[in-house]
Structures are given as C-alpha cells and as structure tokens.
C-alpha cells in the first residue's frame, strides 16, 4: 500500500502554542492513497494540533508539509489544500452553522464554484450515500448528537476530498451511533486519519493505529503496551492485533 502516492507528508514538524514545551516535536508522518490510519493519544498530546496544522489553521515553527507531493507554505497553498483534504471537527456544532441540513452540505460545493443546482444535487447524493435521505430540510441545531456527526461528515464528503481528517468523531455519542460511524468509515473508499482516544472505536474503523506521545508519532510503539488497558472486544471474531 505504501508504494502508492503519498497524499500528506509531514517532515520534522515542530510546533508550540507558547515558548514552553513544544506540542509537536520533530514529528514526521505520511499518509498514502487509500491508507486509513488511527492516531491515539492522551489529551493534550497534540492530535488536534496535528490536524489543524495540515489544514493550515496553525503554522509550524519549522518543518515541511507536502500535499500530493507539492510543498505547502503560503496561505494560497493552504486554500488549495482545503479543497483536497476534508477536516471533520470535534464538535459538530462548530461545523454545522447553516439553518438547514441541505444548505450546510451544499455550502462547500457552492464555495467551490458549483451552481446552486449542481450543489443541491451533490448534497442530496452525499446525504443519500450516508443513509440520510429525508434530512435535507431538518434544522441543524435540532438534530441529535449522532445525526449532527453524520451530517458533519456529509458536509466534508460532499467536497470529494482526496483525504479525510476526523477529530474525535465519537465524542459524546452512544454505542449505537459509534458503531454506525465506525462501520461507515470502514467502508468509505478514501484515505483518512482518525484521531481518537477510544481504542475500541479506532480498531473497528481503521486497520492501522499509531500512538502519539511527546509530540511525536510512535511508529515502533509497543502494541502490547498500547493495548494494555482493559476494554471490551465487542466482536470476538476480530483477531486481537493491530
């Protein structure tokens, strides 16, 4: 799989919010076409920062970012990145700002210069692909937590990104919604990075999980140690490996 083209490449990234301890310290990471990766780590380990860095919402103090092989430096470069990579925010209330679901899903395509008619069609298709048909006229702030999360996913998928970044997609969701999201992500044919602190969820959603520690991604992480905490395996038929 690694022979395929890299979508995102980070090299020796350093970043800190203030002069103190850096949040990201010489972090190197790459995501290839079709690859699905989970990132697990404690609160404050820099997971969200990493995603925001890729989107250009924060700027690293040193290091290089490449997207589709091209080096990303200026604000203009990042504008292009945002059309290639989709980020699903941790809090769906931050992502969904339009009054109705349809308008929110169509927001991205309209920004990409699609006509209202095209944008509407794309939005409807995306909603349908996520089994959300009939949601288009719902008022966004009246959706349940799980519905909000699915609609946020739709608002990003409709832009047909090359890669998807998801920040804690299961926070505050019940088991049923969690299973549904894991199933969906597992079946989406797109590269993705999922950041979470729920090992069980990551295991259901992606084939590969790395841990983040001390501002770096631990590639040689001792999976046994990572796996040492007590948790359920909802389906015993899944082999116990990463």
């Amino acid at each position: 799989m690694d022979a395929l083209n890299p979508v995102i490449e980070l090299e020796q990234i350093r970043f800190g919010y203030d002069a103190g301890k850096p949040v990201l310290n010489d972090l190197t990471f790459s995501l290839h076409e079709g690859q699905k990766v989970g990132l697990i780590g404690y609160n404050g380990s820099g997971k969200t920062t990493l995603l925001h860095l890729i989107m250009g919402l924060v700027t690293p103090s040193s290091g290089t970012i490449r997207v589709l092989g091209r080096r990303i430096e200026t604000r203009k470069d990042f504008l292009k990145v945002r059309r290639t990579i989709g980020l699903v925010f941790q809090n769906a209330d931050d992502q969904l700002f339009s009054p109705t679901v349809l308008e929110d899903v169509a927001f991205g395509p309209l920004n990409l210069g699609k006509t209202p008619k095209e944008a509407r069609r794309m939005a409807m298709e995306t909603l349908e692909s996520l089994n959300l048909q009939g949601f288009e006229d719902r008022i966004t702030h009246r959706l349940s937590g799980g519905e909000k999360r699915l609609v946020s996913l739709a608002t990003v998928l409709v832009m047909q990104p090359k890669a998807l970044l998801l920040d804690e997609p299961t926070t505050g969701l019940d088991e049923k919604a969690r299973v549904r999201i894991a199933f969906l992500l597992n079946h989406l044919d797109i590269s993705m990075v999922i950041v979470s602190h729920e090992y069980d969820f990551l295991k259901e959603a992606v084939p590969r999980i790395y841990s983040m520690k001390d501002g770096r991604i631990q590639y040689d992480a001792d999976t046994g140690a990572l796996h040492g905490h007590i948790h359920r395996h909802p389906a015993e038929r899944h082999p116990h490996r990463l």
């Binding site: 925001h52 989107m55 919402l57 504008l79 945002r82 059309r83 989709g86 980020l87 925010f89 809090n91 209330d93 931050d94 992502q95 700002f97 339009s98 009054p99 109705t100 349809l102 308008e103 169509a106 927001f107 991205g108 309209l110 920004n111 990409l112 209202p116 944008a119 509407r120 008022i139 966004t140 702030h141 608002t155 990003v156 832009m159």
Partner: protein, 250 residues
C-alpha cells in the same frame, strides 16, 4: 428553548414569495408609522386584521404575543394622557388627563398593533432560514444577512451553554439574592459565556475556512415571482395607497 411559534407550513402566506411579503410588511410599517390620522390608522388596523385572518395563524397565540407588546403600551396610557398639554378631559386628583393625550396614546396603540400583526402574518410565518435567503436575494448586504442567520443558529447553542453554567452554579447551592456574591456570580456566568462565544466563533470560522469559505456567501434557494404574487402585490399596494391617501389628502 427559543422557538418560532408562528412558523406554519400550511399558511396560505407561505405560498407567496417571501421577498414580496417582507417588502410589503416593511412598506406597511413605514406608511402606518408616518400616518397620524385615525381615518388612516383605523383602516390600516383593519387591513392587518384581514391579513392575520388570511394567514390562518391561531388567534389565541397571536393575542398572547400582542399582550407582551401591549404591556409596554399600557405604561404609555398611564403617563401620556396626564402629561400631554391640551384640552382637559377629566381630573384625577392633582392630575389632568387631556383629550390630545388620549388621542396620542390611541394612535400609538393602533400603529403598534397594526404593524405587529402584519409582521406576524407576513413575516413570522416563514422560518428564519427562508427569511435570510429572501433578504439575500433582495440585495440586503451579505454581512447583515449573515449576522441574522448566525445569531439565529448560535443563539440556541449559547442558550444551552448558559443553562449548563447556571445549572452547575445552582447544583452547588447558588441561590440568587441581593448580594455582592450574586452579582459577582452572574458577572462570571456572563463573562464565561462571552469567552465561550468567542472561542466558538473562532472554531466555526476555522470550520468554514476548511470548506473553502472565502468571504462570499452563496445561496441555494431560488424564489420565483408567480402570478399569485403579482395579484397579491397589486392588492397590497392598493391598500397602502388608500391608507396613504386617507392620511395625506386632508
């Protein structure tokens, strides 16, 4: 929970173009606000009542809403008649109510209720989302439309956040009273609300940027001006002209 009690999909008003409804309600408000003669204001009140009947909104709910505004008008009735100079009407102890004062109060009451009724019948039947889109189509500056839509969207979130904060204060035994502790607590609550609002605004903006937002807001909706809208616009313009004529022909 803040609600939109008059949004009604079955109202015949919903079948009219929201742009013409907003326009007509605004024109009506101007004409009525600028009129001073009862011979113009009373017909205006009748027009607003007729529109209310056509809109098919529940009369009780509308009256309840009117009561809120008329509560304020009541204060006017307490003060204006006895302070306005003019022909004495009756004496109330040391106070003298004047005929002119009563007239002024009556005019304000009629204006206020007529305008309110028209806005409920024509504008409040549509969800804010539709109104925002209609305003955008009417070339109202984008920033104002966005302000309206965003306030509407996040007022619910802010309300829940406030309730969460207030609840956390009350479960720790906070009972509002007239004390410096109460004032300080409320100041903290409100301050925290502002801090959270600003942090949220930043996150919402970041999320918009990630979806290609570049300052321009595009609308999905397209409104069409049908024959029915034409007939309605002509009728309403006629009514407005008649009210205006009653006022300014004198």
């Amino acid at each position: 929970m803040i609600q939109e009690p008059f949004v009604n999909d079955t109202s015949p008003m919903q079948r009219l173009d929201p742009r013409s409804r907003i326009l007509m309600a605004t024109a009506f408000a101007f004409v009525v606000a600028l009129s001073d003669l009862l011979s113009a204001l009373l017909p205006a009140l009748v027009v607003s009542a007729v529109l209310m009947v056509i809109s098919g909104l529940p009369v009780r709910d509308v009256l309840k809403r009117l009561m809120v505004v008329n509560g304020f008008v009541l204060f006017l009735w307490l003060v204006v008649p006895v302070t306005f100079p003019g022909t004495p009407l009756f004496h109330l102890g040391p106070l003298t109510a004047t005929w002119e004062g009563v007239l002024v109060s009556a005019r304000i009451t009629i204006k206020c209720n007529a305008i309110l009724l028209v806005f409920i019948a024509l504008v409040a039947v549509s969800p804010v989302a539709t109104l925002g889109a209609a305003l955008a189509r009417m070339r109202v500056p984008e920033k104002i439309v966005l302000l309206l839509l965003m306030s509407y969207r996040y007022i619910f979130v802010m309300e829940t956040e406030y309730q969460r904060l207030a609840r956390s204060a009350s479960v720790r035994g906070f009972r509002p009273s007239t004390s410096i502790h109460t004032y300080r607590t409320f100041a903290y609550l409100i301050g925290m609300l502002f801090v959270r609002a600003s942090a949220r605004a930043e996150r919402v903006y970041a999320a918009m940027l990630c979806r290609g937002f570049s300052g321009k807001f595009h609308s999905l909706r397209d409104f069409s001006f049908s024959k029915k809208d034409g007939i309605w616009a002509v009728c309403m313009t006629g009514a407005l002209l008649a009210i205006g004529a009653a006022e300014w022909m004198h």
